[in-house]
Symmetry: none
Subunit: 412 residues, 2 copies
């Protein structure tokens, strides 16, 4: 059972946007046991799209199409699909109601162009788009399934999650695929690999181990594929062996982000945390507050970017700043303690560093970062020297700060 | 003159990595006037690669291939290309010397597997890889040019920059391509399109207009392509006409982000800004501080996620919270004024809302957000009702808050 993904739109071909949709879709399809044979990006050109459809159906049974929908694209995908499947456009009342609902929300009149978005090929199964005005379409042709979706990532994801994936799951029963996840922090991919090499060698052919590295983190994913009855303990026993071996670095045993794992841990202990961010400038707060329900453990904090705000919001002493500078153990520890005192939380995280690309000195080159984690009774701090890429430094600092917090919580 | 990009490797097809190489390559090709017809990602499978090569050469003259090189991939791309171009592998002394040099640097012995990387098809032009052990290959076949490069991004980029792009520039003199950018905020793609329809209709064939929408923003990109001498005023005159027509929504006339445009504006006026974030939880601070040099205008602020921190950090009155709730005009205005007073900045932004997915009430459904912008003398505030997706709501709030700030600065 193969699928193919076709993305339509010149934006990708001129390199204006990176195609993140396809990777996400491929991952989702893999999760339910459907393999992707090819991903193709083609231009907003009718003949090119028609050719791509012809080629894809030779190789695959399921063809997922994104992009080329919407008024300024002249709905090229819709018109091309109508031609390909020899169909006429007809007004879909439900889609029109959806367009009207969305425009009403923004107090805007529905223009003729927008009404046209509700005109769809008569022989497609219309999939309503809860997040936007362009509906998705499902065509079945000689046993091949074509799904066309808008290219806006959150609209596509919403349609995939609520309609396409459930449909495929129900109708294309492949092997049963089970995943188990282990999230590790603070160990490089190759070191982790050599630490668990013997366990990996013991894996049977139907269980695969993938290393999914991200800045400062490696997610281990075990995927078992069974074509008949199976024992779910088999994959779990390997998961447990790996988790035990790498226990120092394991931060989650499920498919959640590191920040979510920390929030869960805090909530389970009925504890709270606050932040005092200088070089990360709000990024750690953003990571926490991106998780629904974070207010149960995250109280908030200071973005103390300037000297003045380090003093007024966190009580850092002028003397400390003058003597040691903003990027120093002394300052970052005062920031962390200040957060505990001013924000009344059980834990706090503080960071101060030189994110770059400029601002470094001989003593403190770009990438120098101090991180502190405090509780009511103690404060731990550590210095890091990262590289010279600003955004990477911000992200690395956040991950290391969260890791330090994680270790402190675990030790208590 | 068309090019195509083929990426080889299962990592992309199982969604383990996002294909950022292709976007970068496409952008580089576009800059030198070479259009990309199609981008295809295919599996580590000989027959699939052979088919992809056959299809690509039908559509394009230049085929850029990345991935499938290196010992852990069994050098599938190299062996397949040798077969495709009916060639034998021979040892390339220069490539071997490069492998030996790299291994010496890490004090590692050269294994037999690594030596094999220096064996290359006899009929290719070898392009040495300054950053890694896998050389690139250039095949010329019936006037079609095939370049095969490693998939590791920095190795590919180095080979492209030092060898492939200079070669293409010299041998395939394409058109001169000029880009001009206009960033707009606060107007939907279709409304913008209808507002400037007549200008778009006036564009000559060699100037194209692209709409690049992002949540709450639309970037307009004019691309002019000239095959001989040209007048750079031509594209500028269209840019000016569009910018004038859409002036209410134009926030930048260059290829920068909205937050960078605001920081530039503040710095040019020698003004500062602070933030008081509830539902955005640090995201606005993160947007500002992602820009190098932001400390010249952004002082920092409060992530006042809890009631307590709204009171202690910003001076919001208990009475206001009790009477109107945290998500109200009264509270958000007090937050904005509190930021001006406590953080001593010329401008402040405050947001409070229900990001969701839960926490809504009948009066204040999920997605309800109040935003205020304050100066020393005044405060403006506005209510929005977005959707029910948490991350979208955070992002939309940030963009609208920045837009309100932008308008206030412009009006002063």
């Amino acid at each position: 059972m193969y699928a193919e993904i076709i993305t339509i739109g010149d934006e990708i071909l001129i390199g204006q946007i990176v195609d993140t949709n396809s990777a996400w879709m491929a991952q989702q399809l893999n999760e339910i046991g459907i393999k992707v044979k090819q991903i193709s990006s083609v231009s907003d050109d009718k003949q090119h799209i028609l050719d791509a459809l012809d080629e894809a159906r030779k190789r695959a049974d399921i063809i997922l199409i994104t992009g080329g929908l919407g008024p300024t694209k002249d709905d090229i995908t819709k018109h091309t699909l109508a031609e390909y499947f020899k169909s006429e456009l007809v007004l879909n009342e439900e889609a029109l109601a959806n367009v009207e609902r969305i425009f009403a929300r923004f107090n805007r009149p529905v223009t003729e162009v927008n009404r046209k978005q509700a005109e769809l090929p008569s022989n497609c199964i219309v999939i309503q788009n809860p997040q936007g005005t362009a509906p998705a379409m499902h065509f079945i042709d000689n046993g091949k399934h074509f799904f066309s979706m808008p290219g806006v990532p959150f609209e596509m994801k919403s349609i995939m999650e609520t309609s396409v994936l459930p449909y495929l799951k129900q109708n294309f029963i492949g092997n049963t695929v089970i995943h188990e996840n282990i999230l590790t922090v603070g160990i490089g991919e190759s070191f982790l690999a050599s630490e668990i090499e013997d366990i990996e060698n013991d894996l049977p052919k139907h269980i695969k181990l993938a290393y999914l590295p991200k800045l400062g983190q490696v997610r281990l994913r075990l995927t078992a594929s069974y074509d008949k009855e199976y024992d779910s303990n088999e994959i779990l026993s390997f998961k447990n062996r790996i988790a035990e071996r790498a226990s120092k670095h394991v931060v989650a045993l499920e498919d959640i982000s590191f920040e979510e794992a920390i929030l869960k841990l805090l909530i389970s202990k009925n504890k709270t945390v606050s932040t005092a961010e200088s070089c990360t400038g709000g990024y750690i707060g953003h990571l926490f507050t991106s998780i629904a329900g974070s207010s149960k453990a995250y109280e908030g904090g200071a973005i103390s970017y300037s000297y003045d705000l380090k003093k007024s919001m966190l009580g850092v002493q002028q003397h400390t700043l003058d003597t040691y500078g903003a990027v120093s153990q002394e300052t970052v520890e005062e920031m962390a303690k200040g957060a505990i005192n001013h924000f009344n939380t059980d834990y706090s995280i503080a960071c101060s560093g030189i994110a770059g690309p400029s601002g470094g000195t001989e003593d403190k080159p770009v990438g120098t970062v101090w991180i502190a984690v405090a509780t009511e009774n103690r404060v731990v701090s550590k210095k890091f020297v990262f590289g010279n890429l600003r955004l990477q430094n911000i992200e690395r600092t956040a991950i290391q700060a969260l890791y330090m917090l994680f270790r402190v919580i675990k030790e208590e």
